[in-house]
C-alpha cells in the first residue's frame, strides 16, 4: 500500500472536485497544482485561466509564478490584465475559482491582508491580488488551504475576499453574483457551508484523520455533517501523476 503526505491528499482531493469541461480561474501554488493534476487525470478538457491573462493554457510543467512564460507559450489566447478581469472574470463566465488564504472564518470569508489591526498589523500579508473579485464573480469558489488553528478562525481579522459574509443571504445583498465558496479542502478533510446557516461544517475527513484532530485545528465550534464521509485515498495513478508534475526551472 502506498503512503502519501497530507498535502498530497489535499491536492488530490482538490483535483477531484474539478469536472471535465469546466473553466477554472487558477491561483498559483496548491490550486495550480490541483488544476493541472485534474487536467492530466479525469478532466482533460478543463480550461485553465490565470490572472496574468492566459486563457486555455496547457503547461507541460507547473508554472512557478502566476506570470510564468510557460503559461503564455501554451495558451490558446493571451490577453492583458484589464481584459482578463473585466471580460473574463467579472462577466461571470468562469465556473470555478480556486483560492487560498492566511485566514478563513466560519462563513468562509478569507483574509490575505493583515493579521491584527490594519494600521498596526502583527503580520502584514501580501494583500488582495485577484482574490476579492474571484470570490465575487466565479460561479463557485473552492478554497484549498492547510487546516491550522491560527488559520481557521471564528472571524477573520480582515475581510479581503467575501465568502458568505455574516450568514445566509449576505452575498445577494452585497450584489455578488457567484455562489461563493462551496467547498474548503484542507489537508485534514473537507468543509462545506451548511445550506441553512451558511456556516462551514465538516463533511469529510481524509483517511486516518479523526474528527477530533480537525476540531482541534478549527477556531470555532465545528459542526459535523450527519453523513460525514471519508475521502477515498489517493489512487496509485493520482499519486504517480502528482509526483510526476515538474515545476518550471526547479530541479527534480
Amino acid at each position: 500500500m502506498s503512503t502519501w503526505t497530507a498535502d498530497e491528499m489535499m491536492t488530490v482531493a482538490a483535483s477531484r472536485s474539478l469536472r471535465d469541461g469546466q473553466v477554472c480561474f487558477v491561483g498559483i501554488g496548491l490550486p495550480s497544482t490541483a488544476a493541472n493534476l485534474a487536467r492530466r487525470l479525469h478532466a482533460p478538457g478543463l480550461v485553465l485561466v490565470y490572472e496574468s491573462g492566459t486563457i486555455g493554457t496547457e503547461p507541460d510543467e507547473l508554472p512557478l509564478s502566476i506570470g510564468d512564460g510557460i503559461l503564455a507559450d501554451s495558451a490558446l489566447s493571451l490577453v492583458g490584465v484589464p481584459e482578463i478581469f473585466n471580460y473574463w472574470l467579472q462577466s461571470g463566465r468562469i465556473d470555478v475559482g480556486f483560492l487560498s488564504g492566511a485566514q478563513i472564518d466560519r462563513f468562509a470569508n478569507i483574509n490575505t491582508t493583515v493579521i491584527g489591526e490594519y494600521d498596526e498589523p502583527s503580520v502584514r500579508l501580501p494583500g488582495s491580488g485577484g482574490a476579492p473579485e474571484i470570490a465575487a464573480s466565479c460561479r463557485e469558489v473552492i478554497v484549498v488551504m492547510r487546516q491550522r488553528l491560527r488559520a481557521f478562525v471564528s472571524q477573520v481579522d480582515f475581510v479581503t475576499s467575501v465568502g458568505h459574509g455574516s450568514g445566509p443571504g449576505d452575498r445577494g445583498r452585497l450584489g455578488l453574483r457567484g455562489a461563493g465558496p462551496v467547498r474548503v479542502i484542507t489537508d485534514l478533510g473537507v468543509l462545506e457551508p451548511d445550506p441553512e446557516s451558511a456556516e462551514l461544517v465538516l463533511t469529510a475527513v481524509h483517511p486516518d484523520v479523526t474528527v477530533e484532530q480537525v476540531r482541534s485545528e478549527t477556531g470555532w465550534e465545528l459542526e459535523i455533517s450527519a453523513d460525514l464521509r471519508i475521502t477515498a485515498p489517493p489512487t496509485e495513478q493520482e499519486l504517480s501523476t502528482l509526483r510526476g508534475l515538474r515545476t518550471v526551472g526547479v530541479a527534480s
Binding site: I28, G29, E51, S52, G53, T54, L64, S65, I66, G67, D68, G69, L71, A72, L78, V79, G80, V81, P82, F85, N86, L89, Q90, T113, Y118, D119, R124, P126, G127, S128, G129, G130, A131, P132, E133, A136, S137, F158, V159, T160, S161, V162, G165, D170, R171, L174, G175, L176, R177, G249, V250
Partner: protein, 274 residues
C-alpha cells in the same frame, strides 16, 4: 501634440535624470514578466526621494526602492515575493519606518487594472464589480461607489491613476523609438497611456519591428524616452530573450530580511555603476 520623435532614444541615466523627479508619482509596471529592474536600480542610484510608487505587484524591484529610501507611499494590490514569501524591506518600512516611513494605498488587482484603464482613457474614474463586502473601502479613499442610471444598481468606482511617469521594459524598439513587447502583457499599455511621461527600456534596438503574434506596439509619439538596457528585466524575464532567475528571487529573501545585508547590497549597486 505628439511627442517629437527625433530624440527618443537616449541612455537610461539620462532618461531617469530628466524625467523622474523627487516627489513624483511613479509606476514601474510589468506583471511578473518584463519588470523594469534596470530602471528601478537607476532610480535608486540617482537617489530619488519622496516618490509615490505605483504597481499592481510590488516585487523585488519595489522592495529595493523602498529599502533604499526612494518612496514615501506605495499604491499596490499584491505585495510579495512570488513563490518565495514576503517583501521584507516593504514590511520593515511599514512597521518601523526604516529607512523612511511608508504610507500605503491598497486595492485589488481588478481595481488597480481599472484605475489604469480610466487613466489611459482620460476618465476620472472606472466602474467595476468589486470590493463589495470587503474591508478595503474603509481604508482606501480612492474606492467609492456609483449608481447605474439605468438599473439603479450600486457598483464600485475607483479613481483613475495618472502617474507622473510610467516606466516599462520591452523586448525591442526600432530606431524611431516605436516599441514592441510580447508574451504576458500585464497592464503596461494602460500604464504608459495613463502617464504624463513614459520611459521604456528595451533589450535591443532593431531596424524593423517584424510583427510577432500577440505583440503590442507602442508608437514613439506616446513615449518620452527609449533606453537600451540589455537584461533590463532580470531577475524577472523577457519572453524570447531570457528566463526568470528563480534563484535570485529566493536569494533576495535572505538579503532583504536583514538591514545590514540589504545595506551591503545597496552599496554594491552603487559601486557597480561607477
Amino acid at each position: 501634440m505628439a511627442k517629437i520623435a527625433s530624440s527618443k532614444i537616449q541612455s537610461l541615466p539620462q532618461a531617469v535624470s530628466e524625467l523622474v523627479h523627487d516627489g513624483d508619482v511613479v509606476a514601474l509596471e510589468g506583471f511578473t514578466h518584463l519588470i523594469p529592474f534596470a530602471a528601478g536600480h537607476e532610480i535608486i542610484r540617482q537617489g530619488r526621494r519622496d516618490l509615490t510608487l505605483v504597481r499592481m505587484t510590488p516585487d523585488l524591484v519595489y522592495d529595493r526602492m523602498i529599502g533604499a529610501g526612494c518612496a514615501r507611499k506605495l499604491v499596490f494590490s499584491w505585495g510579495g515575493n512570488p513563490g518565495v514569501g514576503s517583501l521584507h524591506r516593504m514590511r520593515d518600512a511599514l512597521a518601523s519606518g526604516w529607512p523612511v516611513p511608508l504610507e500605503i494605498e491598497e486595492h485589488s488587482h481588478a481595481g488597480m487594472a481599472n484605475r489604469y484603464v480610466a487613466g489611459a482613457s482620460g476618465l476620472p474614474f472606472a466602474v467595476l464589480r468589486g470590493y463589495a463586502g470587503t474591508e478595503l473601502p474603509e481604508h482606501t479613499d480612492t474606492i467609492s461607489t456609483v449608481t447605474c442610471p439605468f438599473t439603479g444598481e450600486e457598483l464600485a468606482a475607483v479613481a483613475a491613476l495618472n502617474p507622473d511617469v510610467t516606466v516599462v521594459h520591452a523586448q525591442r524598439a526600432d530606431r524611431a523609438g516605436n516599441v514592441q513587447l510580447w508574451g504576458i502583457l500585464g497592464v503596461q499599455k494602460e500604464a504608459v497611456l495613463a502617464a504624463r511621461r513614459a520611459i521604456v527600456t528595451v533589450e535591443e534596438i532593431v531596424d524593423e519591428l517584424t510583427p510577432v503574434p500577440g505583440a503590442v506596439v507602442l508608437p514613439a509619439w506616446v513615449l518620452d524616452a527609449v533606453a537600451v538596457a540589455p537584461r533590463g528585466a532580470a531577475p524577472s524575464y523577457a519572453h524570447g530573450y531570457y528566463d526568470r532567475d528563480n534563484a535570485a528571487y529566493r536569494a533576495w529573501d535572505t538579503v532583504s530580511r536583514d538591514r545590514e545585508k540589504f545595506s551591503a547590497w545597496l552599496e554594491k549597486l552603487q559601486e557597480d555603476a561607477s
